[in-house]
Each structure stands twice: as C-alpha cells, then as structure tokens.
Amino acid sequence: MRKLLRTVLKDRSGWFKISMVCAVFICCGLIQSFQVDNQETYVLQYPANFGARFVIPADNPTTKDGVYLGRLLFYEKALSAKNNISCESCHQQKLAFTDGKAFSTGTDGSLTARNSMSLANLLWVRNFFWDGRSPGLEDQARFPLTDPHEMGQPLSESAKKINNTALYPPLFKKAFGSTVITEGQILKALSQFERTLISAGSNYDGYLAGNYKPTAQELRGLQLFESGPDPKNGVRGANCGHCHGGVKTFKELFHNNGLDSLVTDMGREQFTGQSTDRARFRVPTLRNIMLTAPYMHDGRFSTIEQVLDHYNEHIRQSPTLSSFLQDISNEIGGKNLALTRGEKADLIAFLGMLTDSSFISNPAFSNPHPVLNP
C-alpha cells in the first residue's frame, strides 16, 4: 500500500498531491452525508393552533425511512396469524382509518370487543384505546397485532416471518441500522408512520385560517357546537365543545356519556380498577366524523342523527354518568338538551366541515405495496 502511494505520489507536482488529498476528503464527506441521509428526519407538519403538547420517545425519532417502513408494515398481511388481514383491514384510509363496522373481524373470523377507532392526529393522543389503557403508540401497537380477535400473531413470530422476506431486512437496516429485525422495531416503525397521520386540512381548518367562508347553516352549527345552553340569557347551545372543544375536537377525557343505565362494558374501570370509572370511555376526535360511522365504543349508532338524538333526548342515568350531561337544557328547568330539528341539522352541517378530503386521499398514507389488480 505504502509502495503504491509512493509510486503514485513520486515525482508529481504539489498541486497533484493537494488535489488527491482533497479528493479523499470529499469522498469521506460524501459517505458521511449519505449516512446522514439514511436517518433523515421526517418533519411533522401541523398548524400552529394544534400546539406541540406531544412527546415522541427519544429512542424512536421520526425518520423518513422509519415512516416508509411503518407504512409498508401497516399494509402488511404477514403480520396476521393467517396472513389474511393487516392494520388496514380495520383502518381504511378512505374512511379516515376506520372500517365502517360496529365490530371488526379478526384473523380467525371472530369479532373485536369494541369499535375500530379513527387514526387521525394520534400524535397528540396520550391515552390510547376506548379505555385509555395504553400510554403510547409503541405500546399500543402490541395489542391489535397480538390479540387473538385481531391480528392474532405473537410479535416474535411476526419478526421471524418478515426476517425471511427479501423486502424487509434491508429496509429495517436502513431505518434502524441493525441486521436482525426485532419485535421492538416493528412497533417503532408502525408508530412512526402513525404519527404522520395528521388531519388538518378540513374546511374547519380553512375557516380558522381565514381561507374558507362557511355557509350560514355551518356557522349556526359551529355556534351551537361551541356554546353551552343558557336559557335565562337566551343563549342556545349543544355544549359539544365542552368535551370536543379546541381545534383538535377532542380533549384527553374519559366520560360516561349515558348510553345505558346498566352497563355491560365496564370501560375504563377495567383498566383503573376504580368503580367511579365504570362505563367511562375516551372522548374521541370528531375529525372526519361524517366518514367514521357507526358511532360509540360499540358502534351502536349507525347514523350521526342517532348520535345527536342520543345526546339530545336519550341520556340514561347511572351512578357514573358525566355531570356535564346532567341538568343541562335549552329550556328553563328542562330535563334534556331540547334542541330543535333545525338545530340538529345545523350541527350536522358543521360536523361536515370536519371532513378532510386531503387526509383520506393523501398518497403518502396509502398502500405502498404493488396491488395485483387486473
């Protein structure tokens, strides 16, 4: 080696030597920058009014390679015991990542216990599932992947299966730098993709940014949505914003919304063990609500009209019923909300403003696998 160098450099001009040295440096620099490229950060973009109250685990930064890998895995049927379903089966983009069913069918044909939730704006969610039992996306993904009524496959088996493919090992190496695919990396990649599922392109967002002029009916609906009833002062309201307020249309809350007097699903109590949490369920986002029927944790309402009728006139008493749903009315001394038919129509018009067509058609969220269609 030294001999070769000496031969190359011998009797050459100083300029040649300098350019050789420069070439070596440039090459090193290029290799270095390629390595940085591999870990290129995926920039999560969202409107300022969404705020930055979220935590991304330090050991799972969002990278372009990680997000792409997560997207492939999201649509990967090999992650189910019978290779017949993927995350997409219950979370379809065209339905704002729900499946249009009350309960979803798992890999073995059995039904899930609760309704499939929309996957919009999970970046800001801090307690996942209807009962809030999971504190982070990485932890959350474990449940549907392994639950026998969902994808039903141990993570170790999933890792083994995709280790034996031609597609995945190089992609995991790019995203996580190791040659063996681990269970944790599967969860991390899925979480990275899910963090990118941001829905902030609805007419409501346009309105908040001053770029969309709502119809008169939409504006009336918005007013009702945000107001609490105050019949003494002539203020009519549906009080939705009390729990679904703010630009994200959910607050990190769990309430018993009066579906039943005698409950069959214990809700959050199952997780906390506290009887005061009986039949408390997550207040879900209303983003894309017109696309995510049927509604409630058990999908009991097939239309949005039924949902409004419930809150307006069918609240059932029970010891843990939310105090926000009691003794609240648009009539002095009234026992229910007492919204008119027209007001319900106004509210539905406003809820339509929360549909984000750019979210359900964003190619970055679609199935990246080649689809074999004639």
Partner: protein, 170 residues
C-alpha cells in the same frame, strides 16, 4: 292497572336511588389521591386519612352562581406532609416547580408551587372534601380543589386523583 304500574315504577326508582347512594359511599371510601414527583415521601391518601389534618373551610360562589361552604384541608399541608420544598426551601431553582393536578376523567390543571405557598400568598387553596356539610357528590368528589381568588372556577378541579410535583424543564 295504571296505579299498580306507577307504584312499581316508584319502587324501581327508589331502589335505583338507594343503589346510587350505596355506590356513592362505596366509591368515596375507596378512591385515592396520589402525591408524587419531586417529593420526599410519595403519598396515597384515602378520604379517612385527611381527618388527621387541620380542617379549613371557604364560603365561595360555585359554577351554579350560588354560595357554598367547602371544607377540607389546606393543600399546602398535604404538600408539606409529602416533603415538597415549601416555605424557606421555596427559593432558587425550586421556584421553577409546578403541580400538575389530574382528575379521574383526565382533566388537568397546573399551579406553580409559589402560588400555593403561604410565604407568597394569603390565599389558602383548599383540597375540599365536603360541600355544605355533605361529602362531595359523585363526579365532584371525593376530592376537589377550591381556589377562592380564581374568578373563573376552571382550576377548581373536581374528582382529583393525582397531584404531580415537577420541575419545568423547558
């Protein structure tokens, strides 16, 4: 016929009420309040544990616009019991400490530690357990914060389940 049906309904209603009352007292006795974070002694308090503290009360107007008498324990006493840096220790970096108070339904509010300390303020922030002599109802109790000088009662957080003392890190 109509009469029998009516009486059956009232029996059912009374039974439901009784059930609610039983449930309520059961729930109140088992609910706990945790004090964690920057403390020397983490606490897990039940309603009965508060009896040993000095009882304080405030007459204040609640959300319903009516005046009520709330009784309970000064929040600062609970913090002292947990070994939080109050009084003479509340200086320097400890002034960057806050309390994140969480309710059973997930609602959260924040107070800076200095806002609660009697060296800084005359306001006694209360961890209330009774309202007009009665234990706080379901959905409100068993623990609720009462901050008389807050004009808007949004930080009078109900169903308090945890108090986390922490340093602001950003």
């Amino acid at each position: 016929m109509f009469k029998t049906k009516f009486s059956k309904q009232s029996i059912a209603a009374s039974l439901l009420l009784l059930l609610c009352a039983a449930f309520s007292s059961f729930a109140q006795n088992t609910a706990t309040l945790s004090i964690t974070g920057e403390v020397t002694t983490p606490l897990e308090l039940k309603l009965a544990d508060l009896a040993s503290f000095k009882q304080v009360s405030h007459k204040v107007k609640d959300r319903d616009g009516k005046e009520h008498e709330f009784s309970g324990v000064a929040l600062i006493e609970i913090l002292e019991k947990a070994g939080v840096t109050t009084g003479s220790k509340l200086r320097g970096e400890n002034l960057a400490k806050y309390l994140l108070i969480s309710a059973a339904d997930g609602y959260e509010v924040l107070y800076s530690l200095a806002e609660i300390d009697p060296d800084f303020t005359d306001q006694v922030i209360l961890l209330a357990t009774t309202k007009d002599g009665q234990p706080l109802a379901n959905g409100e109790g068993p623990f609720r914060i009462i901050t008389p000088n807050d004009k808007k009662p949004a930080r009078w957080i109900r169903e308090v389940r945890s108090i986390k003392v922490a340093f602001a890190k950003i």
